[in-house]
Symmetry: C2
Subunit: 200 residues, 2 copies
């Protein structure tokens, strides 16, 4: 396809983004050309400034433009409850539920012996530091139910065994709205295992 | 949602793009943060430069970074055949078919008495100029089958009546792959009208 050079380049950048194919990238690039001069200037600017200004919270590892993120510096949040996640992106999902009032800890990865990723390669020592400073903290492990997630969960459970920490993990089970007939075996098995008593 | 300021702004720009909702905009913005510094710089730059460098071809009105676009300046294209379109974006679609070897003319709009858009408000006089310089040109009208498209088609047909121009329009009909059972009445009616004899 014979696009003018700048348009071709713009399309190629949109194509680098997740879920954007050739056709969508063309559409987005053309829509960008239709931005006003001010908008284009501003959009261009924020791509650079966001790369420069956004770093990681020195406590929890969340994305922030400050030394300490808004969640860690919010006095209304329960610092004794720490939700442990693989990736900061999950924080946006949790925050959207609007019901979690604790704090987070971003591991930036999971233990994976297959890929030569050990406990020292992820953001774990700072979690242990945080836990040790608290009186009776609660950890909620929100790691994905894969071999790596399980390995990391087990490791954290083991190293914090005698440290007076309550540890839980997210429940596995049937996603809301799902048809039980169409659920995969493993999810159904987990939903049985994690079944919740509703009457004695 | 409490995004850091730069991230919120980046998300808001992605949301201005067609077909990008809140969730996708967040995904694209975060993916942009994961670009390398060079990529972010370059992406940012091309958004500005494309706005600055891309103008319209002085002959046909196509998007170009030159005075005359690649198609109009290509000696292998048949200058006697002009495909008339509403919007330059259609050119990319036609070019992808790879079978059209003529040139284009972008009207930048359609005649619409309802919206007070007359023949003088669209890029028509330059089309007549082009036609008048050619010996026996062929015009292919590729305008959408709406009231405005029909009005523009009729107007062009009328003003070029005695100018030795062959004029055709794209055929209406069944899109390839469609189920005839599910076609709308109007398309089916047009497909009947535009039916093609395949044997005498």
């Amino acid at each position: 396809m014979n696009y003018p050079a700048d348009l071709a380049k713009l399309i190629s950048y949109y194509q680098k983004l997740p879920g954007i194919g050739e056709k969508s990238a063309e559409r987005l690039a053309i829509a960008t050309l239709e931005f006003s001069d001010e908008e284009a200037e501003d959009f261009s600017e924020v791509i650079k400034s966001s790369k420069k200004n956004l770093t990681r919270c020195s406590i929890c590892g969340h994305l922030t433009d400050k030394e300490i993120c808004d969640i860690c510096s919010d006095n209304d949040r329960n610092k004794n409850v720490i939700c442990v996640i693989e990736d900061y992106k999950s924080i946006f999902s949790f925050e959207k539920t609007g019901t979690f009032n604790g704090t987070y800890h971003v591991l930036n990865g999971l233990i994976s012996p297959m890929d030569d990723i050990g406990p020292e390669d992820i953001n774990l020592s700072s979690l242990i530091n945080r836990v040790e400073k608290l009186e009776h903290p609660e950890l909620i492990l929100a790691l994905k139910p894969t071999v790596e997630g399980e390995a990391t969960t087990l490791y954290i459970k083991k190293i914090l065994e005698n440290k007076n920490v309550t540890i839980s993990r997210l429940s596995y089970g049937i996603p809301i709205g799902a048809e039980i007939d169409y659920l995969d075996n493993v999810t159904l098995e987990k939903a049985l295992e994690d079944r919740k008593k509703i009457s004695e």
